[in-house]
């Protein structure tokens, strides 16, 4: 028995290298765990099963920051993967790394895979293309902030859950009513800088940074201490002091509070959908992100968060052909539509959105199209195309610190944002020096 087993082992070990040589291997590093990790693995398997020339090997490399850092460290060691997932905050870093990355439009042209840059949704694609319209990285998972409503919490506090929450003025009045009705947590947020500053600025069509939010050059300066932003943060700070806005942390810690049913309102990414749907034991719905009536050109459009796929330099042409095939597969309408429906991430192509609509998904799951509408209803302006700032992960850390000072009452919104600008600008100058 044992001998036969050994024999079988010997045969398989002899056979397996031959099988591996026949297929070109493509390494794909990503940052997804849990449900999202499973979905990515399923996409990769589907691709591998659909053809026999290439085999994509996916590996999880930690959270967004860790994945980017692994990619950078691997590049320095000459061991970089073919495809690296980089969150939107790292976009400027990757764009400046000419010689480390291979633009997606080039990869697609070389590989001969089907690729039509115009089929991608403008406000998603805009984040990852040059000012000449050349796509540098492939948008993969993109989301935008929306307002989640716990209808049961509204009922419990004696507030009509169908109240108009489209403006912050209305939300302010609703928060008063919720608080008066006994709610301990009227409003909670995730990703405060992304939602209440970056998206806030785009949505009200006011600049977040000079030089078209950094798209037009490295000599950009933060402008987040403008009148509109300060007014919003002052209101949020007052709500925090009155116990109407509960601060739970810099990332998506607030999600736990909302999903447990504790909080009535939650500003969070549209991609919070998968988690909320799975865990919430209350009646919820989703609304567009509120705006201040009469401030800027609100509502303009919101911007994306999430990640894109970068192709790394330093591999052979046949391998790049495989990369091209895989990226084309990911962009295909079916793959995109199911990704969009499963996760709450935006579809990256018009066709995927249309397929989802035709399949009746939006009718069955009301509100899931709000994110798409919110992003695509208006043509993006220079203020709402996105952000392209160097050292932005670090700058977000600074913004988080200053926002915390507002919530705790240590600083006024104006003081905090002036300080965030001064500190952030110093980092932008360093980035300019390193990449100029």
């Amino acid at each position: 028995m044992q001998k036969r087993l050994l024999g079988a082992l010997a045969v398989t070990t002899m056979l397996s290298p031959i099988a591996a040589i026949a297929q070109t291997e493509v390494q794909f590093w990503h940052a997804f765990t849990g449900r999202l990790g499973e979905l990515v693995a399923a996409q990769v398997e589907e691709f591998n099963a659909s053809q026999s020339d290439y085999v994509v090997v996916q590996s999880h490399k930690g959270n967004y920051s860790e994945t980017l850092n692994s990619g950078i460290a691997a590049f320095r060691a000459g061991e970089q993967p073919h495809i690296l997932m980089v969150f939107e905050v790292g976009t400027a870093t990757m764009m400046s790394a000419q010689g480390a990355t291979k633009p997606v439009f080039e990869v697609m042209a070389q590989s001969g895979a089907t690729f039509d840059a115009d089929s991608y949704i403008g406000s998603v694609k805009g984040y990852y293309t040059t000012t000449e319209g050349e796509m540098l990285s492939l948008p993969f998972n993109s989301s935008t902030p929306v307002l989640w409503v716990n209808r049961d919490a509204f009922e419990a506090a004696g507030v009509d859950p169908d109240t108009d929450l489209s403006t912050w003025q209305n939300v302010g009045a609703t928060l008063d009513a919720l608080k008066a009705g006994g709610s301990d947590c009227p409003l909670v947020t995730a990703w405060q800088s992304w939602i209440h500053l970056e998206n806030f600025s785009a949505y009200h069509d006011v600049p977040f940074a000079s030089k078209d939010n950094g798209f037009a050059g490295l000599d950009t300066e933060l402008m987040l201490n403008g009148e509109a932003q300060v007014a919003h943060l002052t209101a949020m700070g007052d709500w925090a002091q009155d116990g109407k806005f509960i601060y739970t942390g810099r990332r998506n810690e607030g999600g736990a509070n909302f999903r447990s049913g504790e909080c009535a309102l939650f500003t969070e990414s549209s991609a919070g959908y998968a988690g909320i749907k799975a865990e919430a034991e209350f009646d919820f719905d989703v609304r567009p992100l509120p705006y201040w009536e009469g401030v800027g050109n609100a509502p303009q459009n919101t911007i994306i968060g999430g990640a894109s796929l970068w192709v790394m330099e330093g591999h052979d042409d046949p391998e790049y052909a495989g990369v091209g095939e895989f990226l084309a597969f990911l962009s295909s309408s079916d793959v995109q539509a199911s990704w969009h429906q499963n996760t709450g991430y935006l579809p990256i192509t018009m066709a995927a959105g249309e397929a989802t609509r035709l399949a009746g998904f939006y009718d069955e799951n009301p509100g899931t199209d709000i994110a798409v509408t919110q992003m695509t209803a208006k043509e993006p302006t220079a203020n709402s195309k996105g952000l392209r700032l160097g050292s932005f992960d670090q700058i977000r850390g600074i913004i988080d610190e200053e926002l915390e000072a507002i919530w705790s009452g240590d600083k006024t919104a104006q003081e905090a944002m002036d300080s965030a600008k001064a500190r952030g600008d110093a980092l932008l100058r360093r980035f300019e020096a390193a990449n100029g």
Binding site: S65, I72, A97, N257, E401, E404, R423, A434
Partner: protein, 293 residues
């Protein structure tokens, strides 16, 4: 009395110290030299280009008031961690030393926390003090105290100090306990016959005899609080709120590995090198004089 071994020739002594020299060179001098070299540049993250800036990185750092504040934060943090881990350890060791029965059980239980990795300890404490779901913060809330280390710098500092010191108490306990067992019983008995009560014996006999151990632990704990508390801080506060728990080492990590600002990170390492050097000199110059071996 001095013991001295005399070698004939140079070869053998050189050979004997070679392993230590090689290890120091590979793991200390080479990286330290690299850090000094890198601190003069602003490199891009991918290592594709480097911009020579002279002392620009140092200028940038020292003009940053948060970096300057980080020195004070580090000092406060290290002193608190050292005190909070050594005093309870000594107290527990003295008590366990007096036990006649069952000291083995106590000893084992007290050593347990040392087996917990810093990052895990951090998560553990974070769960207990989580502002919304933590058990301890819930009880504090019942008592009318609104615990929020996410926004309150003092509370954040308290939490990282306790979480860092906790596992360390075991380690210190072990050393103190062993040292206490080594205190000659005859000296203590003689003092007892002379009428010295327990605390008097402790202050005049036991504590001086413990001084080599105490000094050793002081050095080790300061080094620990400087360099090994990283995991705790990373998991509990990530240096926040408003950098009130950003110690120097944590800033080296976050600037270098999160923000990819390797120039600034290297400059910080160089400054840290100088600080630790000074600290070592101070410790050996002033404190060791008071140690009786």
């Amino acid at each position: 009395m001095e013991k001295r071994v005399k070698f004939r020739g140079w070869l053998l002594p050189l050979l004997l110290i070679a392993p230590q020299v090689v290890i120091s060179a590979v793991f200390f001098f080479y990286p330290a030299g690299q850090a000094i070299w890198q601190s003069l540049f602003i490199p891009d993250p991918f290592g594709l280009s480097m911009q020579y800036v002279g002392l620009g990185n140092f200028e940038f750092l020292l003009s940053d008031k948060f970096y300057r504040a980080s020195f004070a934060t580090t000092a406060v943090f290290s002193i608190l961690v050292t005190l909070c881990s050594m005093i309870p350890a000594l107290f527990l060791a003295v008590i366990a030393d007096r036990l006649i029965k069952g000291s083995g059980v106590y000893r084992t239980l007290l050593i347990w926390p040392y087996a917990v990795a810093p990052a895990v300890a951090g998560v553990l404490w974070l769960f207990m003090f989580n502002t919304r779901v933590g058990v301890v913060s819930w009880y504090l809330g019942q008592l009318g105290y609104d615990w929020n280390h996410v926004l309150n710098g003092g509370e954040a500092m308290g939490l990282v100090v306790v979480a860092s010191a906790w596992g360390r108490i075991s380690y210190n306990f072990l050393f103190f306990f062993a040292a206490l067992q080594a205190v000659p019983k005859s000296v203590i008995e003689a003092a007892a016959i002379d009428g010295a009560h327990f605390w008097r014996r402790f202050w005049t006999i036991v504590l001086p005899l413990l001084s080599p151990t105490t000094f050793f632990l002081l050095v080790v704990n300061v080094v620990y609080s400087f360099f090994e508390t990283f995991g705790v801080i990373h998991t509990i506060t990530a240096g926040g709120p408003q950098q009130t728990t950003t110690i120097l080492v944590y800033k080296v990590y976050s600037d270098g590995f999160v923000s990819q600002d390797l120039g600034s990170s290297a400059a910080q390492s160089v400054i840290l090198l100088i600080v630790v050097g000074l600290l070592t000199v101070l410790q050996f110059k002033f404190i060791e004089k008071r140690v009786h071996y």
